[in-house]
Symmetry: C2
Subunit: 705 residues, 2 copies
Amino acid sequence: MRKELDSIFKPRSIAVIGASTTRGKIGREMIHNILLAEFQGKVFPVNPGSPVVHSIKAYSTALDVPDAVDLAIIIVAKEHVCEAARLCGEKGVKGLVVISAGFSEVGKEGKKRELELLAVCHEYGMRMIGPNCFGIVNTSPDVRLNATFGKINPRAGRVGFITQSGAMGEAIMNHANELGIGFSLIASIGNKADISSNDILDYMRDDPNTDIILMYLENFGNPQNFTLIARKISRSKPIIAVKSGRTKLGAMAASSHTGALAGLDVGVDALFEQGGVLRVDTVEELFDVAAALSKQPIPKGKRVAVVTNAGGPGILATDALISNGLEMPPLSPATIKKLKKSISAEASFSNPMDMVAGAGGREFKLTLDAIKDDPRYDAIIPIFVPPVTIDQMDVARNIQKSLEGTDKTVLACFMGAGEKPEAIEYLKEHNIPVYIFPEAIAKTLALLAEHREWLNKPSGKYKTFKIDKADKAEAEAVIENAYAKGDLSIVGEEAIRILQAYGIPAAGYEYASNAKEAVAAADKIGYPVVMKINSPPILHKTEAGGVMVDLRNADEVREAGNELERRVGKLKKGEKFTVGLQKMVAGGIETVMGVTIDPSFGPLVMFGLGGIFVEVMKDVSFRINPITDTEAKEMIRSIKSYPVLSGFRGTKPVNEKIIQDTLLKLSQLVRDFDCFSEIDINPFIASADASACKAVDARFILQKR
Amino acid sequence: MRKELDSIFKPRSIAVIGASTTRGKIGREMIHNILLAEFQGKVFPVNPGSPVVHSIKAYSTALDVPDAVDLAIIIVAKEHVCEAARLCGEKGVKGLVVISAGFSEVGKEGKKRELELLAVCHEYGMRMIGPNCFGIVNTSPDVRLNATFGKINPRAGRVGFITQSGAMGEAIMNHANELGIGFSLIASIGNKADISSNDILDYMRDDPNTDIILMYLENFGNPQNFTLIARKISRSKPIIAVKSGRTKLGAMAASSHTGALAGLDVGVDALFEQGGVLRVDTVEELFDVAAALSKQPIPKGKRVAVVTNAGGPGILATDALISNGLEMPPLSPATIKKLKKSISAEASFSNPMDMVAGAGGREFKLTLDAIKDDPRYDAIIPIFVPPVTIDQMDVARNIQKSLEGTDKTVLACFMGAGEKPEAIEYLKEHNIPVYIFPEAIAKTLALLAEHREWLNKPSGKYKTFKIDKADKAEAEAVIENAYAKGDLSIVGEEAIRILQAYGIPAAGYEYASNAKEAVAAADKIGYPVVMKINSPPILHKTEAGGVMVDLRNADEVREAGNELERRVGKLKKGEKFTVGLQKMVAGGIETVMGVTIDPSFGPLVMFGLGGIFVEVMKDVSFRINPITDTEAKEMIRSIKSYPVLSGFRGTKPVNEKIIQDTLLKLSQLVRDFDCFSEIDINPFIASADASACKAVDARFILQKR
């Protein structure tokens, strides 16, 4: 794969098919850009209509090119693309970049054309980027390839960039140029008919010129694969991604745009979390984070010092930092003592350290010198609001002089310095990113600190519980029985049996068909008990008044039995009235666990608190299956209502290990049987007392066979 | 007041005291700015050291100035400010702007100096802005005053700006200049020793040159007053504010910075909500919103049409719009039919309407023409990502031509158009604001749509319930009794009595001192009952195991009574064991209501759901007292868990009217008695059944006398 992609990203010779006439300006711009970037190989325009393009001799077909060709860029009208590709194949071309649009993104006919094109590639062993893409870039000095048709010749730098949208790709390249951010490799992947974003991620992992990777994504071809690749790369090269199509309507637009199924947002969040990808919401944030990562280390922790010459911005920065979850420890007494010797007494000597408006280069140097060696900080934010009396350039030089070589993360803020950009330019050149507003710094730092936590945490293990052959057979029997009956929903005792087969603690059932039998069953179980209508089947039992809880003695059970029978009313022919009785699990906390099968992400494992928390507050966590033990733990701890589980108002914390194992067992269950479309354990009672932790009710929905 | 402020904002003659030597460059810059802006009156430098400043004759003291002086700007060292002010008073100066720092912001001594300065102002009937401020601006053609010492001569425009931080003021002015936003009036209010932000707000309300008002605030002098003023102004002129010091740490920095108590964030949010102020988090957003409001109408509703020439940005916009609560109705069949005649068949004909990359001016014009008359939209967002093949200027002209005169709100997005700003400039000049990223548009539109809702909603009434004299006396007796006992906490039956006096439904108590009495009491109340230890007093009864719920018969009551007595253990001398019994209110939803007294905002009324919701999820709403009936209703509806009250899973919605009235009665209670420092009703049972709605427990904490 590596070698195949080399022929695309490091070609020695290129043919541009459709170099001038067919697609109007695009072909000419492409040649122009290739020349402008000083491509280190040879370029051959191919165009039957014009013998010369941009002063270069052009050929009628790829076959006429006198030299060997590594890469062909195809820009001809959609109807001629397959033919052009075939000629490239005959010529022995190794890689294609197909710019032309009019393929799977425009419907059925296009999809057919795309498959045909792919078949040509397979036939001749060519690899392809596109179709419907914006081109590729490699700024490596021995390549210098800009095979895009934009107005921008991207600067060289250490950022790799993968984009699924050509338009967004161009917009992002323009914006990067304005910000002075340089690229190593750029790939606009278009419809991803052959080469996917995963392939290019993998290629960038080994690229010595790439330190960080930016992605603009609209959907995922193979999310499981993405997680695996990202998980590996993220350990050494941070990946920052904007995934659009987040909201439901947004996703609809994505789907009509790309002809692909858009991802559920919870799936995407889980994917990025599990893969260690830094997810940003906007293109602006993408660059804020890229600017920091391309020049500064990832902070060791969350502790930030703010040094400012003005109160207002210091407060804004503090607000933004704290509300983004960062910490601002006060200055140490030793630092304060040191600073009081040389800084105006009107300064505040706290964090933010407000040196007041008179402060210039000298004060910044003194203060930053004192703070940069203090181990209580992981990051430093110098803020400067230029008063007319202070020399900005002097401030910039002193900030740089002081902080050069520090291992702390430094992000500077120069507010309202628009008219004198030299100071800002100076800092940027010396690897200190400068932001206009402190809020952008806070968001960026928060994301980096989170990534540090991700890097620090154990990578987790995929656990496999030993399940007895007999137990597995038991679960299988329940499933097969349901299929045999033509009933795709497994509930009640049958569902409990599957859980028990996989060692998930569950409250068993006793059945009764009248009040008298119910009392006998309750006596056997022990009071208090819960009684539910078992047949006739009712879907939402609680809402329908089909559940009686906390029955404390025989009298109450008898009364409840009669009442339920009354509520059921007349039975249809062949139906029988029965109730199920369970031991009432008291004093625990209701949780919900489950699995749902997402069309693009496969099984997602879910956890949350029960009742209102899951249904109104939507306070749940998702992970893509399979999950590691660490991930199961995180699922529990990442819900907002976690304090309810960890000991709230003096109650004992619940036994998390049992919840964790139950999630892992669910994960294993869907790996062992790939027939489920949904699993719900609701409620699973969590308690400090291990023996009281139990699934009370569960439901399995089977896929159609 | 108006006339007094006129002498400051519309002076005919100014003296600049300390025009050159004392504060170094500041005085010279001030004179320079006054001249540069072409002040329409006379300016007199006052400086004992130099006879000429900036080629203008200077005078030794204010008294030496030959003409009458309306406004004096004082820039001398802090020690000389009072003396300079006194001479101004002698001279008959009407207003002061005191730039000099070193007053209440630097501690006790400074505070003393500030009071002294204020006394001088009072003595001579002068009004003052500052001290410790950045100056003032009035761009009105008959005034043209720029009495600031920044590097910027602000453009004239229709935006009023009030800033509490000089540094932020300068930064914001710089940024505004870059964005082409012009100002009518600017006031840097510094320490607000005399003239407050409320005074200036009031002044801007009547200023014919001001259409919208921006504020940068760090604290509030008189929040109640602010709400009243803002509520009036917001109906005609939108107010947009950044309030810093949001988070706890941020507030600490604000407090050390300004020497004032920083506001609790919930108070600020309530204040802005009740005053109809558009609250933004960052300076960037301040300008995003200002740009929209200064050029476009507030949208009539939330329904947005997006018209784009590229899929990616369309998806980003959709994501951002939907997640900010806006709506995107699909195109009408009639519009689609119309568009299909003239737009490429590859376009998507949905919302976002993606005209695909070939679209230029013609397509924008056709599409926008079809959409602008469609009553299903309140706002239109044209998005353009410049492909190399399209003439940007042509696109801009066609967007403008189509949308000129529409009553819908138009905000345009030009992504990555950095190199050719002419098109953007063209649109801005024609009153269409242009943003680089769609997310900024979404946030801005959401805020404007929210403001429209605020404008549309009934302004609400302050309700006063008729309370019987005897009832009021009863409440007073309980309070006085507590003071007499020296007990600042009123709980149990006493607390219930206050509620009942104000017509708040509450569950009464019966008392018993042993199990036998308890059974008699329970028989009287009717089962099921709740039993709580009444004495000895225990603060957190539930945690201490001092509450038994759902006792269903005499046996259970007897057993519970004995158990509680056992739990209390040995009594101290003089103590007696008693329990209180209440009717158990079943089937309702626990809510919490209360009042807390904030040091800067006064009483805040609170509402939320009980238990975990208030303690873990912090899902509560606050309003500043007094509250209107509309506000009480909003308090209930604005919590996240509101669906639990409005009918969740088929349950009936609770009786909101009773909750609303209870909040209004609490509001009245704290107006009638200003002795409370805290009131808590926890729980108040809300139910569909009005007779079941009841306060079960309450606590009043009295202020020390």
